[in-house]
């Protein structure tokens, strides 16, 4: 089975069936980028609790299904525009950037392309440099091409090494802008928007797998946490070799995120210990089905 590092999935919004299905489809690692939560937050405390959850309970939850969970931390561009929270979030970010499951700064970038977004985007790139972390860039959904160009300008001015930049939510148009930048280029595959599995296959056939990652960006909206394995199946049908697919969905993200003792191929290839009786702050994934645990997870004690 093809091994998969899913480099962009908001598992906070997903149910345990998704974890089970993802594990069964070959997903070994999920990366959860900090983002907004569907409606504006009004004070920094809710960010702190969210950040604590994605380094805590969510990580524990993923491990209960045999999947490693890592995350990126950041002030997302949507809420960078909100003066009720932006400065305060920037103040708490440094201490989260040193946590061991935090493998990058993100999602940062541009959404509406406002002055505030640019200011906090640039400031967070500097934080990434200080903490020796890569960045995961969210790009605008509207006026995408110009948004990509602006992101590239801001990144270039920041001084961060191109090899530490992942620019996400790309498409057939934006790859022409980013192809020569040396960035890792991300494509978010959705059922109805951004990028479809079929279009992704055409991009791979044209551009190859170097410096490209694919993700589901699954969240609380209509999205598919199995987008990556489904695209893998189409790539195989299109004649792409398993070695190239492995580069696309495993080696590229592992090399990009697994550095500085914050995860590695060796660590991520070892399955987390499965024990559904294990608790996190007194909470487990069990809902009374101890025998099911044994059936579904023969490795569990």
């Amino acid at each position: 089975m093809i091994r998969i590092f899913e480099p962009h999935s908001h598992m906070f919004s997903r149910v345990t069936d998704d974890y089970e299905n993802m594990a069964a489809a070959g997903v070994r690692v999920v990366l959860e980028p900090a983002f907004w939560l569907g409606q504006p937050r009004t004070h920094v405390g809710t960010f702190i609790d969210y950040f604590d959850t994605i380094i805590g309970w969510e990580r524990h939850r993923a491990e209960q299904f045999g999947i490693h969970h890592v995350c990126t931390m950041g002030l997302n561009p949507r809420e960078a525009n909100d003066d009720r929270v932006n400065d305060a979030v920037m103040e708490v970010l440094p201490r989260y950037l040193e946590k061991n499951s935090v493998v990058g700064v993100g999602e940062i970038g541009l959404d509406d392309m406002t002055t505030a977004e640019e200011k906090f985007f640039a400031a967070q790139i500097q934080l990434a440099i200080e903490h020796n972390l890569p960045i995961l860039i969210h790009t605008p959904h509207r006026d995408k091409k110009r948004g990509f160009e602006r992101c590239v300008d801001i990144v270039r001015d920041s001084g961060i090494a191109p090899s530490r930049v992942l620019i996400d939510h790309g498409n057939e148009e934006t790859i022409k802008i980013t192809r020569e930048t040396g960035y890792l280029q991300g494509f978010s595959i959705y059922p109805h928007t951004k990028m479809s599995p079929e279009r992704m296959v055409k991009i791979i056939l044209e551009f190859g797998v170097a410096d490209i990652v694919i993700n589901s960006a699954c969240d609380w909206g209509v999205s598919d946490p199995l987008s990556v394995p489904k695209t893998v199946a189409l790539l195989q049908q299109a004649g792409i070799s398993d070695a190239d697919i492995d580069t696309l969905v495993w080696k590229n993200p592992v090399k990009f995120f697994g550095r500085d003792g914050r995860g590695s191929e060796e660590e991520w290839m070892a399955k987390p210990t499965l024990d559904w009786t294990d608790t996190f702050d007194g909470n487990s994934v069990l809902r009374g089905q101890v025998s099911d645990t044994m059936d579904k997870n023969p490795e569990a004690r």
Partner: protein, 276 residues
């Protein structure tokens, strides 16, 4: 602000220096120097990195104890031992508010390191507060970090809190051997609680914590002798072994004939040896 370190702290310090791999010495020196310079502010951001910079390897050395404290070295990772040394370097080793703040803001690994660090520092109000917190959160790994392989709970907690900790150990099947110094804190009231819990479990046909009678024997309450006698014939090896130990603690001549009878049929060598 630097406290006079406890003897255990000094032992831990030398253990850490001896077991830290040579190639990590420069990293440690840099880390420590930054803690000295940056104090709590630096530690608040960088404490989490101790795990990956200093290392997760378990120490060796078995039981380390003196007249102040006891720990089992194997339960400590290099990063756990580095934690109290970093607190000392940052000048917060006796600053309960600072330690609590680090704990509150820490992830699970940081919390585990802090709880281990407390076992190597003099008992402070924050030691008790965080032991209570570790108990309250009902998180297996956190509870073990706080209550196992150290005598801190036995040294620091009052009778009520200690009894609650023992009952949680019984509930989560943490071996009594790992709660160092427990026998010195046995009370008839704790024994009563343990025997009641045993009876409850037996009535429900659920497993019984083997440590119950072993600990109760140190401060017997009504019913202990009968429970020990019964468990000498238990079908569960751990309970039989615990009963033998309890009988030896109780040192009651009535057990001599029971031991003799048991020797004739005991199938397991370690338990047979314990009967001698």
């Amino acid at each position: 602000m630097t406290p006079s370190p406890s003897l255990t702290f000094a032992l831990a310090s030398s253990l850490f220096e001896a077991q830290l791999p040579a190639d990590r010495q420069p990293t440690w020196a840099d880390f420590r120097a930054k803690a000295v310079d940056g104090g709590l502010g630096w530690l608040e951001v960088h404490f989490a990195a101790t795990l990956r910079k200093i290392g997760r390897e378990a120490l060796t050395g078995g039981l380390i104890q003196n007249d102040q404290a006891a720990i089992i070295a194997e339960s400590f990772r290099l990063c756990d031992l580095a934690a109290p040394l970093l607190f000392d370097a940052a000048g917060i080793a006796n600053d309960g508010d600072a330690i609590f703040r680090l704990y509150e803001r820490g992830d699970h690994e940081e919390r585990r390191m802090i709880l281990k660090a407390l076992t190597l520092l003099p008992v402070m109000p924050v030691s008790i507060r965080l032991l209570q917190e570790a108990h309250r959160t009902n998180d297996g790994n956190i509870f073990i970090a706080a209550f196992a392989d150290t005598d801190l709970p036995a040294r620091a907690l009052d009778d009520d809190d200690f009894a609650r900790g023992i009952l949680k150990a019984a509930f989560t099947d943490l071996s009594l051997d790992r709660i160092l110094g427990a026998s010195k804190r046995a009370t008839p009231e704790l024994s009563r609680m343990l025997l009641d819990f045993m009876s409850e479990r037996e009535a429900a046909h659920r497993p019984v914590w083997a440590g119950s009678i072993e600990l109760a024997a140190f401060a017997p309450c009504p019913g202990v002798l009968a429970k020990v006698t019964g468990d000498l014939w238990s079908g569960v090896d751990a309970r039989r072994l615990a009963a033998i130990r309890a009988a030896k603690t109780l040192n009651d001549p009535r057990f001599e004939s029971e031991f003799e009878a048991r020797r004739q049929i005991e199938p397991h060598l370690p338990i047979r040896k314990a009967l001698n």
